[in-house]
């Protein structure tokens, strides 16, 4: 099957010449793919928010619609009682399209001078030939391992894909979502009087609404502190000391609820604030006691995360190390299930 790209290109040219509502600045070509009708509205809304903030040519590849669907419009922003063009919006029905067709559509429609960002809102990336075909040709792939699956499935798919395709620049929103938690946990151990506690940790407890975020957080700690996954609920640090860990499913999907770190003499607890969820309350009790603090959770909506992925997600060594550590932890849990 083929796509009618010429008529779309013709419409784009006409809009630029005649309607005067063309964008004056473009930062990227933003390609979004989905094939589950349930996520369509959600994805469009998030992409629209992003395009309003960062003007882009948006190409929505709608895997639920046939090739008859195509539409050229504008991502608009209401500004001073008038609509102001913030980007171009192209919708294409791509149900049943093969990888080459999708790739040629992206090549033909992308703005020539801007980087291409692919937001992939579909599962099974480990075995999807379309994803494998498109992803090496874009600057950044944005994936969300906890979007369609609140268990380990999405994360396992990502790990398998990255092992097979190490050259693809890929970011996972589930990992980027952890930034305020990473910041809060790092904050516990700033200062020469408390740093020793970091190397004396004995137990880690994570409560989370989805598993990908919890495994990422564990993987991040393990990779930073040179812990190796020893069995399904234990790490060993480099001196052979055991660190026990537990993950419990609690709270809203895709959100961490509580992280507790225990050293032999001190407890470090980061948890969502009581009445609101936009604050992480930080408590330290025991030998290294510290006055209570809090840290606001900001910019973790999907549009903000995608923006961060675009700005900072390339060749993120820490993410790569975290992913490898998460892989090792999951491998241990797999052994138990077998």
């Amino acid at each position: 099957m083929s796509l009618d790209l010429q008529s779309i290109l013709g419409e784009l040219t006409l809009r630029r010449r005649n309607r005067g509502d063309v964008m004056d600045v473009a930062l990227m070509t933003l390609v979004a793919f989905f094939e589950d009708a349930a996520v369509a509205e959600w994805l469009r809304d998030r992409i629209h928010s992003l395009a309003v903030k960062d003007p882009a040519r948006v190409i929505v590849l709608d895997g639920t619609a046939t090739h008859e669907l195509h539409h050229v419009g504008a991502a608009c922003d209401e500004h001073d009682d008038c609509l102001k063009t913030r980007g171009e919006w192209i919708e294409l029905g791509v149900q049943g399209s093969d990888p080459d067709t999708l790739q040629s559509a992206i090549s033909a429609l992308a703005l020539p001078q801007t980087p291409i960002v692919l937001v992939w809102a579909s599962g099974r990336i480990g075995t999807d030939a379309r994803f494998a075909g498109i992803s090496p040709n874009v600057r950044t792939v944005v994936y969300n391992s906890s979007a369609l699956d609140d268990g380990q499935g999405g994360l396992r798919e990502l790990i398998a894909f990255v092992q097979e395709h190490p050259g693809v620049s890929i970011c996972d929103l589930a990992y980027l979502r952890l930034a305020p938690w990473q910041e809060s946990i790092a904050l516990f151990f700033d200062g020469k009087n408390v740093i020793r506690e970091l190397f004396d940790l004995r137990r880690v407890e994570i409560s989370s609404g989805s598993e990908a975020e919890a495994y990422y957080l564990l993987g991040w700690l393990a990779s930073r502190l040179e812990w190796s996954a020893h069995c399904a609920d234990r790490f060993h640090n480099r001196f052979g000391t055991e660190i026990e860990f537990t993950i419990s499913r609690e709270g809203s999907p895709r959100r961490i609820r509580r992280v507790a770190l225990h050293s032999s003499q001190t407890q470090f607890i980061a948890e969502l604030g009581r009445e609101k969820t936009e604050v992480i309350a930080l408590t330290v009790t025991g030998a290294a006691q510290h006055p209570d603090r809090c840290h606001p959770i900001t910019n973790i909506d999907t549009a903000a995360l995608i923006e961060r992925a675009i700005l900072t997600g390339h060749d993120d060594r820490i993410f790569h190390d975290t992913l490898l550590a998460a892989r090792d932890i999951l491998a241990q849990t797999e052994k138990v299930h077998r």
Binding site: M23, D24, V25, L27, V52, K53, D54, P55, D77, K84, R86, L176, A179, P180, Q182, E183, I185, A186, L187, F189, D190, G191, K192, I195, R196, L198, F199, D200, L221, S223, R224, L225, E226, R238, G273, R274, E275, K276, E278, V279, A281, L282, H290, P291, R293, C294, H295, P296, I297, T298, R308, T312, D316, R317, I318, D321
Partner: protein, 517 residues
């Protein structure tokens, strides 16, 4: 992977910090003391900036805020006062509420004090020590002088007597932020500096010029040094002139008493506008380190010769607004404003010409102007390039204009470029067209208020956007002859421009090419 091992000796590197996604949060814990915390600047600008930083997650998690002013409050009263101000001045999504506000409020305290009693500073010292215990502020103190300038040396002297001066040890840092104006002339600025440097070394003094915290001002450095296309033509070979405008449509509002002793040259040109000139004209710094940039700014100011007293009339123009109309509304003349002398000789408009006597800029005039009650609020820098050397294209009636690069600072923020383009059709007509980049449409975000950036930088210890003493002193030296001549010669033409107009008729005599406001 990085090596993670129990730290030996004094090693306190946190391996969890390595490679963390960039965070705006400031690491250093600290107590911020606002002298003048019941004043207008605190409630309108400083408090909202600090609370906004709290909401953004920029403020250190371990912090405390101390108000120090004459108006009597206890701690709870001050918290309630601050909550009311934030209710008024913060946007709807940032109102003081919830656990973030509770935490913020718990970290606030207040000392009711005049600035003359040294016992009040002893109390402050005890309070800061308590903050270190209660809030983990680690002995780091940022003192912010938001008081009338006359009080600056008094506060600084008391800080030393109370033992709150910088200690130069590992028990924490001490810095001081000094609001403008830094002196009222060269002599008073030097006197103030002498008082400050008795207590604080230059590296601990942060002289604030909020203009430098504005995004488009910072973007001057990005425009010049993060692009290759501008720097090769950024010199006397291609640039005809540079004009810098800071125009306001507002009058003196409630500041008549202050302004009548200041005037436009002191209030705007000596600090904001000369700072812009320095950023536009400086040589490329070797790094973005504060002192590398500030060295270049000072060097370029040093290359400007102050006008000889006899030349002041030729290199400057002054004006004072009379009654007029702005936005369809009649407005008073300057001499009718509250707290202004009815025969005031104070200028509300100032324009000066400077020449930068160095290899890059020799012969290129820099025109600076600033005024109140002008046709509209507009701050911009306009670089006018030289005309084409040989004309062969276009009809003889076509008015081929030189290229312009406009750096828009406020109210629009962005960059515009004027160039000539062929008018479509069979004839070879040309017309000027503008490429216009606006931050609003380019990035779709609202620039953070300048004070947020600057307070954050002061806590971080990054002095890049603060003015070093040598540059402040040099700026006073540059305007001193004009100030002296204007002070000693009454302008009998005052008021010489109508409110809402383009300024006084003497300004075009200085420079015919002023951009229309």
């Amino acid at each position: 992977m990085i090596a993670a091992a129990p730290p030996a000796g004094g090693n306190s590197v946190n391996p969890l910090r390595a490679g963390l996604p960039p965070s705006d949060r400031i690491d250093a814990p600290c107590s911020i003391v606002f002298f003048g915390a019941s004043g207008d600047l605190f409630k309108r600008m400083l408090l909202p900036a600090v609370y906004s930083m709290r909401c953004n997650g920029t403020l250190p998690a371990d912090f405390a805020l101390v108000g120090f002013a004459r108006t009597p409050y206890d701690d709870d009263g001050f918290r309630e006062y601050c909550r009311q101000q934030l209710d008024e001045f913060m946007p709807p999504d940032r109102k003081p509420q919830g656990s973030l506000w509770d935490d913020f409020a718990a970290r606030m305290s207040y000392i009711t004090a005049g600035f003359k009693d040294s016992q009040d500073f002893v109390k402050l010292k005890a309070l800061l020590a308590r903050n270190d215990e209660r809030f983990g502020t680690s002995g780091n103190h940022l003192f912010y002088l938001a008081t009338p300038p006359a009080v600056f040396p008094v506060v600084v002297g008391h800080l030393k007597k109370a033992g709150l001066d910088p200690r130069n040890d590992d028990r924490g840092w001490t810095r001081i932020v000094v609001e403008k104006p830094f002196g009222t002339d060269l002599k008073t600025a030097r006197t103030l500096q002498r008082e400050i440097e008795k207590v604080f070394s230059e590296s601990a003094v942060y002289r604030i010029d909020h203009y430098l915290g504005k995004e488009p001002v910072q973007d001057i450095i990005a425009l010049r040094f993060a692009n290759t296309i501008f720097e090769p033509i950024w010199n006397r070979n291609y640039v005809q002139s540079v004009q810098i405008t800071a125009a306001e449509s507002l009058g003196v509002e409630e500041r008549g008493a202050y302004y009548d002793h200041a005037g436009a040259l002191r209030d705007m040109i000596q600090n904001h506008v000369i700072n812009l000139l320095a950023l536009v004209a400086m040589e490329p710094p070797i790094s973005s380190h504060a002192d590398d940039i500030r060295n270049e700014k000072y060097k370029v100011l040093s290359a400007i010769a102050p006008p000889a007293y006899d030349d002041v009339a030729k290199t400057s123009a002054r004006g004072q607004y009379g009654p007029g109309t702005i936005d369809g509304q009649p407005v008073k003349g300057y001499r009718q404003e509250a707290d202004v002398a009815p025969d005031s000789n104070t200028e509300t408009f100032a324009a000066v010409q400077f020449c930068v006597n160095n290899w890059r800029w020799s012969g290129v005039p820099f025109f600076l102007r600033s005024g109140k009650r002008l046709a509209r609020k507009l701050s911009e820098i306009v670089v006018t390039f030289k005309p084409i050397p040989h004309r062969f294209y276009g009809a003889s009636t076509d008015d081929i204009q030189p290229n312009l690069l406009v750096i828009k600072i406020q109210p629009d923020e962005g960059i515009a470029m004027r160039f000539e383009a062929k008018v479509p059709g069979p004839k070879d007509h040309v017309r000027s067209v503008y490429m216009d980049f606006n931050y609003g449409s380019g990035f779709g975000v609202v620039s953070p208020p300048a004070y947020e950036r600057l307070i954050g930088d002061a806590i971080r210890g990054d002095a890049t956007l603060f003015t070093r003493w040598d540059a402040v002193e040099r700026a006073w030296e540059l305007v001193t002859p004009t100030l002296d001549v204007w002070k000693n010669t009454k302008d009998f033409a005052f008021p010489n421009y109508a409110a809402g107009s383009q300024g006084p008729p003497t300004a075009p005599a200085l420079f015919e090419g002023w951009r229309r406001l």
